[in-house]
Structures are given as structure tokens and as C-alpha cells.
């Protein structure tokens, strides 16, 4: 029982990381209409910036997280302005440009950071006993970070003019444009938010897991599965999907091994989508 509890806690903290990534992915999907593959590379770069600022430059962890998020926000803006603005509205070019960008950034990561894995020394040592289970502070912080980020995004999308404009744009781009909303601004905003969330996820896992140039590869695929399971473009769906997949992965890793679980997650999502193509929360168009 205790073992299961431990796995559930691990699954929830994994789910929090996945949620940060999936929110950005689903936001970008609803604006661009395609899956943004370079998200994994942004996540990796976020973790590396945190590592370099924290370990090499010796700043505090919190400061390095903020710097990483800001740096990736700028990179996101540059990516949107330089690449995706030109191909917005088309179907295949943005998808494959994102994949090319992912490869580019990943091999850039190898070139700059080397193939050796890095890790940030534990920021918050210690653990707390919750319901008879030992929970490290770090995992607790992961969950709390996830919850805060989700709440902030929700507030942004429902309370601010810019957030409302984004939702209006997703609902009906033409009508939104007629109301004077600029598609360019909305899409820039989506990239800035999505990339900052990915950087936040990368920065948060840096002290818990290891940092390597390929860390984003598997994670972005999981993110794709999560948002499809949840319903593409749906924010509550992305959250639910993140928690479900996080729990399956963590429980599966305990009983079946990681590789087997990965296959299982895939088959599970494929079967689920065959039965209910729109995902858990998506609208049933198909």
C-alpha cells in the first residue's frame, strides 16, 4: 500500500511536469493547428540555461529559473517572428519546420553542452511525511509549481484582455480579426507563453532528474499523447491527460518496467482514441 502511495506521489509530480508541457502544446495547437515538435528542445534548453546560470555562474536557483524562462520566452518570440509567421495557415510546412527546429536545437545542444549528462545539486533537501509516505520537498515543489502555473494561465485566459483575445481567436479567427485583434500578436503571445511554460518545466526538473541534450525527445512525444488523449486544444483535457499519463507511467514503471509502460501507454491512447476520437474533453467533430 505504501509502495503504491509512493508511486502515486511520483506520478503526480511527473504529471505536473507533463501538465506544464502539455498546456503549451495544446495552446500552440489551438493557434497554429499543428503539433509543435520543437517543444521538447525548448524544454531541454530551459533546463540547460538553469544549469549554467545556477551551477556555473553561481546565481540562486530561483534567479536561474527566472532567467531560463525569460530566455526561452525571447527564443519563442524569435521563432514565431522568424519562422512560423511566414507559414501560418498552412498544414504541413509548420509541422515539419517544428521537427527540423527540434533536430536543429537538439544537435545544437549536443554541440554546446556535450553528450555528458549534467545535474544540479539538490536545491531543497529533506522530506516530509504525508499520510505515512515520505515525500521529498522537491517533488512537492514540482506539484505546487504545476498548480500555480495552471492557475496563472487560467486567470490569464479568463480575466485579461489579451487572454480573452486569444480565446476569441481560437474560436473564430476571422471574426476575431474583424473585431480588431491581430493574428500576429495572438500567435506571438501563444509562442511566448508556450515556450516559457516549457522552460519552467525544464527548469523545475533540472534538480530532480538529470539534464541531457536528449531529455526532451521522449517528453515531447508523451506531451503529444497527453494532449491527444485529453482532446486537442482543450486545456482541462491537457491537465487531465497529464495526470492520467503521469500516474500510468509511474505505476507502470514500478510493476512492469519503463520500456513496457511506454508501449502500454501508446496502445492505451490508440485504443481510447479509436473508441472516442475527440479525446476525453475534446468536442466530437469526427
Amino acid at each position: 500500500m505504501e509502495v503504491i502511495g509512493q508511486a502515486v506521489i511520483n506520478g503526480l509530480s511527473l504529471g505536473a511536469i507533463y501538465a506544464l508541457l502539455a498546456l503549451g502544446l495544446t495552446l500552440l495547437f489551438s493557434i497554429m493547428g499543428v503539433l509543435f515538435f520543437a517543444h521538447g528542445a525548448i524544454y531541454m534548453l530551459g533546463a540547460y540555461v538553469t544549469y549554467f546560470v545556477c551551477v556555473r555562474a553561481g546565481l540562486t536557483y530561483i534567479a536561474s529559473v527566472l532567467i531560463a524562462v525569460a530566455a526561452m520566452a525571447v527564443l519563442g518570440l524569435a521563432i514565431e517572428k522568424g519562422l512560423f509567421r511566414r507559414v501560418r495557415g498552412t498544414l504541413f510546412p509548420p509541422f515539419f519546420i517544428a521537427i527540423g527546429l527540434n533536430w536543429f536545437l537538439e544537435s545544437l545542444g549536443f554541440a554546446i553542452f556535450g553528450v555528458k549528462m549534467k545535474s544540479i545539486p539538490t536545491v531543497l533537501p529533506g522530506a516530509v511525511r504525508l499520510f505515512g509516505m515520505i515525500v521529498t520537498y522537491e517533488r512537492l515543489v514540482l506539484v505546487v509549481t504545476g498548480v500555480i502555473a495552471v492557475a496563472a494561465l487560467h486567470a490569464f485566459l479568463t480575466r485579461t484582455r489579451a487572454g480573452l483575445a486569444m480565446r476569441a481567436f481560437v474560436e473564430d479567427p476571422e471574426a476575431a480579426a474583424l473585431q480588431g485583434m491581430s493574428g500576429d500578436t495572438v500567435s506571438s503571445l501563444a509562442f511566448v507563453i508556450g515556450c516559457s511554460l516549457a522552460a519552467l518545466a525544464g527548469a523545475s526538473v533540472a534538480p530532480v532528474y538529470v539534464v541531457s541534450p536528449t531529455m526532451g525527445e521522449h517528453t515531447v512525444l508523451t506531451g503529444m499523447l497527453i494532449i491527444s488523449l485529453g482532446g486537442l486544444g482543450s486545456i482541462p483535457g491537457a491537465l487531465l491527460g497529464a495526470v492520467v499519463i503521469g500516474l500510468i507511467e509511474s505505476l507502470g514503471a514500478m510493476y512492469l518496467g519503463t520500456e513496457f509502460t511506454w508501449g502500454l501507454v501508446f496502445v492505451f491512447v490508440a485504443i481510447f482514441l479509436t473508441i472516442r476520437p475527440a479525446g476525453i474533453m475534446g468536442e466530437q467533430h469526427a
Binding site: 495547437f29 503539433l35 519562422l83 511566414r86 507559414v87 498552412t90 504541413f92 510546412p93 509541422f95 515539419f96 519546420i97 521537427i99 527540423g100 527546429l101 533536430w103 536543429f104 537538439e106 544537435s107 545544437l108 549536443f110 554541440a111 512525444l221 503529444m224 499523447l225 491527444s228 486537442l232 520500456e259 513496457f260 511506454w262 508501449g263 501508446f266 496502445v267 491512447v269 490508440a270 485504443i271 482514441l273 479509436t274 476520437p277 475527440a278 479525446g279 469526427a286
Partner: protein
């Protein structure tokens, strides 16, 4: 001579130059192994043939309006089926090659019937999940799939006895080259005939609006499943050929990167044109081999080239001549002037 006569003559001329061009190209292709190029170039040629088959079939599925993401699954089925039938079942390669295609086509029918009901990213995830599930089966089951380390020492195809001329032994590269060329020509011919027939029109109708197509009485599921099965079968045969050519397969030979590469070849070459995947495979396989000498930076160069092509050539490389022509025309004729094809 009236205008239509001139047009008709031009049309004939056009077709005969195209025919002559094709014959020339074919002669050149056949000459490659004999002009003293090293084995490496012949090998690159064989890889290009394999990828032309993969990406042309892949494009055909995309042209039915389905975002296929499990092509690597079907290619893997072809390779594993043929290899296991040869190595465990003792059948000759010349039997297992079509059988591999048939098995993959049947599997495509089974998967296609439920999966082709949905479109876009959903179809992508379902086909991807299926392919990943198969890969996982090969990885976990050591007997007969060889598990993680795959299957090595795959025998080459059996020698073909030719009357009066001796036998063709698959011990050097040229026989593989011609077998690959033959498979590629077969695939391209089948797909070309299909696209330029009534079927091609039906697929265009389905892609542009499948509800409308259904409303005028087209059995869209039937047509979609047919295209899916045919393309999967042809790609699986190429996969079987590749397995016996390289002598080694593993679950990692058939991961999602393969399907992604096919998408890239097709889009970079030009999705709308039949020649797109052919040109794209030629261009990017060659570029990949060329960049290999830069070791560490090859992926960056490759990805950079890909991004630049996608950004600046929205219709792919196939659209390049048109862009150049229209740029030239714009210079020659003043803006707004009427040309033969309407206003420029």
C-alpha cells in the same frame, strides 16, 4: 492553322519530349552501376530507390486526406514477415516478397476500417500507436523477433537462373540496384496510373470534401481503405527488399523517425505534385549523405536546409521552376500585361 491546332501540336511535342526524357533518365539510371562509380554511390542509389517507394506511397495516403503517422509500422511488418518466412519458414525470397506485401495490406485493411473514420491528428495518433505497439512486440519478444538486438545475417535473395546467360547472384551491389530500381518503377507506375485515372479524381474529391463526395454516392471508406492497403503493401515490399539488402533489421530500424522523414521528403519535394516525393527523396537522401562528412554538424546542416526549403518554397522543390519562370516573366512583361495564360 487555328489556335487549337497549334495547341494540339504543342501537346504532342510536349509528350514526346517527356517520353524521350524518361527514356534518357532510365538509360542513365541503368548505366549507374557500370560507369565505374564506387560501391558507395551504388549503395546511395539503392537507398534513394527505397525511399522513393516509401515516400511516394506515403504521399498517396496523405492525398486521400489522412495524416498517416504509422508508415514505419507497415514497412516493419513487411521486413519482419519476409525475413522470418525466409529464415524460419525456409521459403524463397521471391515468394516472401509478395507475401510480405500481402500481409501488410491485409493488416492495413484491419487497421484502416476503424481508423480511417477519423482524420487529422487523431488518425495520426492511432496509426502511430499501432506502429509503436508492433515495434514494442518486436522488442519484447525474443523468439522469433530477435528482441532489442534484432535479426542479423539475413540471407540475400536466391540466385535467378537465366537461360543461356548464367545466373544472377545477389553477391554484389548491382543486382540489388536493379531489383530496387524495378520495385521503384513498379510502385511509381502503379501510383501514377492510379492518380491519373478516375481513381485519382475520386481521391481528390474525397480530400477536398469527403461529406460532399459521400453525398454524390462515392463509397469513401472503400476508396480510403483501398489506397491505404495498396500503399502499405507496396511500402512493405520495399521494406522486405531493404531487410534482405542490408542483412540486418532491428526494432530501431522502424521507429517513428522513418515516417517523419517520409513526411519531410514529401513536403520538401512538393506534396501536390506526383514527382514531389521522388525529387524530395533524391534531394534529401543525397544531402544527408553529403553532410555526413561534417560529422557533428550534419544534423544541424540537414535541419537548416530543410527549414529553409520549407520556408521559401511553399510548393516544394517541384514548384521552383514556376517561381523562377514567373520572376523572369515579371521582368520581361510590364505589370498587368496579358500573357498567353492570362494576366501576369
Amino acid at each position: 492553322m487555328s489556335q487549337t491546332d497549334i495547341r494540339e501540336q504543342r501537346l504532342h511535342l510536349h509528350f514526346s519530349t517527356r517520353g524521350a526524357g524518361l527514356i534518357l533518365l532510365l538509360t542513365l539510371l541503368c548505366a549507374v552501376p557500370f560507369v565505374g562509380l564506387s560501391d558507395y554511390y551504388v549503395h546511395v542509389g539503392i537507398m534513394i530507390f527505397v525511399f522513393v517507394i516509401y515516400s511516394s506511397t506515403y504521399r498517396f495516403v496523405l492525398r486521400t486526406g489522412q495524416l498517416h503517422f504509422g508508415a514505419h509500422g507497415f514497412i516493419g511488418v513487411g521486413a519482419y514477415t519476409s525475413v522470418l518466412l525466409v529464415m524460419r519458414g525456409g521459403l524463397p525470397f521471391w515468394v516472401t516478397l509478395p507475401v510480405a506485401g500481402l500481409v501488410a495490406a491485409l493488416l492495413a485493411v484491419v487497421i484502416g476500417y476503424p481508423a480511417l473514420r477519423v482524420k487529422g491528428a487523431y488518425f495520426a495518433i492511432i496509426t502511430w500507436g499501432f506502429a509503436e505497439g508492433l515495434r514494442f512486440l518486436y522488442m519484447r519478444v525474443d523468439d522469433p523477433f530477435g528482441g532489442n538486438s534484432g535479426i542479423s545475417d539475413i540471407p540475400p535473395p536466391e540466385a535467378i537462373p537465366l537461360p543461356f546467360l548464367g545466373t544472377i547472384e545477389f553477391r554484389s551491389l548491382p543486382p540489388f540496384y536493379f531489383l530496387g530500381l524495378a520495385l521503384m518503377l513498379l510502385t511509381v507506375l502503379v501510383l501514377y496510373r492510379l492518380e491519373h485515372s478516375r481513381f485519382g479524381l475520386v481521391y481528390s474529391a474525397i480530400r477536398e470534401g469527403d461529406h460532399l463526395a459521400r453525398a454524390v454516392g462515392i463509397d469513401i471508406m472503400g476508396y480510403k481503405v483501398l489506397a491505404f492497403a495498396l500503399c502499405s503493401g507496396l511500402a512493405a515490399m520495399a521494406g522486405a527488399f531493404f531487410a534482405h539488402y542490408s542483412g540486418f533489421i532491428s526494432p530501431h530500424s522502424f521507429n517513428v523517425l522513418l515516417t517523419i522523414s517520409l513526411g519531410i521528403y514529401t513536403t520538401v519535394g512538393g506534396l501536390a505534385a506526383f514527382a514531389g516525393p521522388v525529387v524530395g527523396s533524391l534531394f534529401l537522401v543525397t544531402a544527408g549523405e553529403f553532410f555526413a562528412q561534417y560529422g557533428f554538424y550534419k544534423i544541424m546542416l540537414y535541419a537548416g536546409l530543410m527549414i529553409i526549403t520549407l520556408l521559401f518554397l511553399p510548393e516544394g522543390i517541384v514548384g521552383l521552376p514556376r517561381i523562377i519562370m514567373s520572376a523572369l516573366n515579371r521582368k520581361r512583361t510590364p505589370a498587368g500585361a496579358t500573357t498567353e495564360y492570362g494576366t501576369s
